[in-house]
Assembly symmetry: D2
Homo-oligomer: 341 residues x 4
């Protein structure tokens, strides 16, 4: 941490900052220029992140050099984390494709989707049993009955299943049915849920919040790793900007940045990011080229009657065509579908 | 809802949309121009919000005319909601000032704050027992012990107390100690928590999410009212934008807009919005002038040693000076401190 | 400037940075921690702003401590700049109200507006002769004929006139007719125009760009002052965010921040910021309370037939009512209409 | 255009809107629901874009169905526009790579860059002679002397040259030296410049503004086409968001969206979008996969001594390596370097 003093800050102001630092257990190193004094601070992460010196007399700016995360960083663990579920893997050269509907609606719907997804080469099946909806008048999901249908559909075709934990109180129940637990964008900073998931023995798929920076996404993952759970998959799903043509703005540079900052696998969700069916295929291609370790794609056997996200869902047929196109692209990046290369 | 068809969409495409609408229980009204056909849809809120026709063949755009909320709107209830807690009130001409530290740290800290706040004319006391922090290495709050200290401090000076529910599992416990339950910005779309709070008999202070639109804030409040709890106070605390000089961008036009859209009281939190002590006073003044029903201000007896948000906290002395300045401004807007005028 | 090296950067990397600094004419001061080396850089503004060391081997982050502006800062000139035009002034306690239509449309329109504005107490008259419009199919303004009508209307009621320079080639012509030259939001970083206006003897009203930070606004003003023209009025008119209920998001904390960072007067334009007539009055009140030195308000004698911005224009009657409300509020802030207090 | 009336708007309010429409030369079609009346408006683009009915009594919302542009749309011209310069082309299957330094600094620098760029397979050479810089204390470019050096370097290696017009007064001079004229992000809505460039016989490279929507970018291009110049290349270079890790947020979904909305070629500038050298290669790959028709990449023979954008510049060696990687990717999309496929 650096504390930058205002031009010609008084000696008293400087001494005051140094005293507070010492008191907190940190070390202060002064660098006095002609007009500016800069105080370098050395101390451990817990101490540094407890110090908030902005606003002290004579202080102009505080720069935090130490990142707010450690376990998730590539500095801490240079080699890729590989998240394994049953026979499939994601990360470390293994590319994952998670396909399925926004919401679980019926046995037929799930079976049709599962069969189509598996036939086309998806490595995991997804479906929402609890749906976060802006309006209380929109469909809220089937609950436990949905979890059961998802599990059965996954088992029927031999694919692991991923589903969202919307309420921390349901985490254990969801874990009974699902192989991977998803944290939705709106819960990325639901720290109590992150703490709880950190103690569980299921991999976590953590979606980036609508207004979350790359650093905040990594800090959220740090909560889970700090709890002991090392299997976290990050998901870029678009951030909220002024552009309204797409539902959100897919930040593919964040994918490339994350791949250099962390050892955790990163997947891209073009469905929620764009909200437009015609943009799914180009954004899948771009995501792969940007270095993603996987994709998350909404597939529904009958998008027109979908209870949620129909406009951005692919039919199993569309999905199969897309997968045929994507295969060589994954290979071009030196990755293999579901298998560590 | 309006379904706007593409230029020269085929008769089949139009018929298909009309069929889907009828099937869903809505009524369709066609308006055929020379190049464009527009389909007006009549139906109740539940039906309308279950229809997602974007992406259907021939469909260019879908415009939702019906708002995703009802109970919170001024159309539904023209007169102001007044939230009453003990002897104090907020809304309907009653102006509330909620003061206290970001985090509860000790008995002395809370008593000193409570005395200073009460003496200066605050109408409620706040303090955080559970702290949402981006980094897991930052201070996370005192928990139940903090709730006890807050309650005691409030009782000692006769002020009702407000505190955040960070985990839905703690809601009942928090309600044992607090008069008003706060939902933080990061939980504004934690729908399971909103559902739970909708069944409780405590007023809710609902903070706007960092990336939440005015319509989403109102929809979140609708969840609570739909559950039966009519006492919701909305809080504007800044949205996330590209500007980094301030911590967030305080959206005071949203306050004025909310006052016309809803009957619920609206308070402004300049401390979190700006993150800079020197901007608190001007933003309190501007908030009052914009039509707010109250303010939420961070006060700490020793900001330099605060474990959280020190840079934006006022001392009790600063706060007293500020309150002296604000009094006549509240009166100028035809409002009274803590009392329905 | 601080150059923060990566953890355990090599001695060679550090030496390389120091060499480049010395070569450029700056001084380097090393501060070596256990894991991190930080290089403080001392040099003059031109040198510092020519150094871009991000991306050099071993460099993690570069922090610019020196602001990119000097002449506009309060450190450089502590006392308020007062911009005087004829008998009226803005800044230093003088409050200005600039009223008039978005676009100049006819002699009758301008005379009716001017009379209404003057009678209600406006201190300056505005009107656009050249209109920046997103679509080439929208009305583009009357040009020189419009300038003449504006001048005549101003003269008829004794008010100075303000109008936008849309094309740098027209600057001299506009200056023949107008007392104050406006730079629109879309031209805030049209640096060639700023250079040109810096050599002219007319005060400049500089509007903040839709995506411009406070620092960029001040840097744009610095261009004008550096050219020799010291009379710049800054204008906050809303920034572009994800919120769509209002046309832009009015950033009133920026007004308070600017008042502390610069000696230049700051005005607020609630008309363009909100795009909604019903929000003009509360945002005028809030702007005054936030510390603004003036307001810029769209007034049109017949908003329904306005060729531009009708939805946010007030009638002369509405404007008179508003001015009656605002008078005591300006006085409450210790300011006087058009006169240095 | 649709005018959506408030619930139970009065018959008078409806009639008033219809009268104003008729008066303006448009046709009104009423659609009366139980609670809502919707007025469909038929008329030509000029008329529709002159009507601003938001704020009229009884009006809730106005939806513009007709786009603000025509000539640039795929509906108007389904086949791709191919921009040809000398022996090279961009669009219609021809992929362009524009390489060169941010700013022109010397003959040696330009020659070294040109030779490296040409040898590696670039199809055009770029370099800035006039530099838009936020701070007036940063390097502003070499001016005409720079244009001459750029031209000579391009001629020496047989590559067409692209450079920015910063000041509309310099457009003719720049056109004497350059093959393609660039409009920078900060001038995207400098409508007078767009008008001027619309009359010139040079292709225009139009960069998206930092806060410009896709629709505004297309409307800006429409200005140029409306003036008679049909050769416009669009450039996605990142938009401004809350994320600060990258300089801007590269919006690759906008590239895919533009390809479906317009016939104009679209290029991607990963250098300005990310501001980080290590993200250039992945974003080039992702841009190609998203459907771009070309790339614009900053190359400098000595990035450490570059007077501008060093941190994001590639050396000629890095650039050659990158081009080797990109070649097969361009072919995979069915495109050819500089040649219509």
């Amino acid at each position: 941490m650096l504390v930058i003093m205002r031009d010609h800050a008084s000696a008293d102001d400087v001494r005051h900052v140094v005293d507070l630092l010492t008191e907190a257990g940190a070390e202060a190193h002064l660098s006095q220029g002609e007009v500016k004094t800069i105080i370098g601070v050395i101390g451990d992460r817990e101490v540094i992140y407890s110090l908030e010196f902005e606003g002290l007399p004579g202080v102009e700016q505080v720069v935090r050099v130490l990142k707010p995360f450690k376990l998730v960083s590539r500095d801490f663990q240079p080699e890729d984390t590989v998240v394994r579920v049953g026979a499939t893997a994601i990360g470390g050269g293994a590319f994952g494709v998670i396909a399925g509907p926004c919401s679980i609606e019926s046995e037929e719907q799930m079976l049709a989707t599962a069969r189509g997804a598996a036939a086309a080469g998806a490595t995991m099946l997804r479906g929402g049993a609890y749906k976060p909806r802006s309006s209380p008048y929109a469909f809220q999901g089937m609950g436990v009955e949905g979890l059961r249908l998802l599990r059965e559909a996954g088992d029927a075709v031999g694919l692991p299943v991923v589903t969202e934990v919307l309420d921390v109180r349901d985490a254990a129940t969801v874990a009974e049915y699902a192989d991977i637990l998803q944290v939705g964008a709106r819960n990325m900073q639901n720290f109590m849920m992150l703490d709880e998931l950190g103690t569980m023995d299921r991999p976590i798929l953590l979606k980036r919040g609508l207004a979350a920076t790359i650093e905040e996404l990594l800090s959220a993952a740090e909560y889970i790793l700090k709890g002991g759970n090392r299997d976290v998959i990050l998901c870029e799903r678009g951030i909220r900007t002024f552009e309204t043509y797409t539902r959100n703005t897919l930040d593919l540079a964040a994918v490339a940045a994350l791949k250099s900052l962390t050892h955790l696998p990163v997947v891209v969700d073009p469905s929620h990011a764009t909200g437009r069916r015609e943009l799914i295929a180009p954004m899948c291609r771009a995501g792969i080229a940007a270095g993603a370790d996987g994709l998350m794609i909404e597939v529904h056997p009958d998008p027109e009657h979908a209870r949620c996200d129909g406009p951005q869902s692919l039919t199993p047929g569309d999905f199969a065509t897309l997968m045929t196109d994507l295969g060589p692209r994954v290979a071009l990046e030196g990755k293999r579908m579901g298998v560590v290369s």
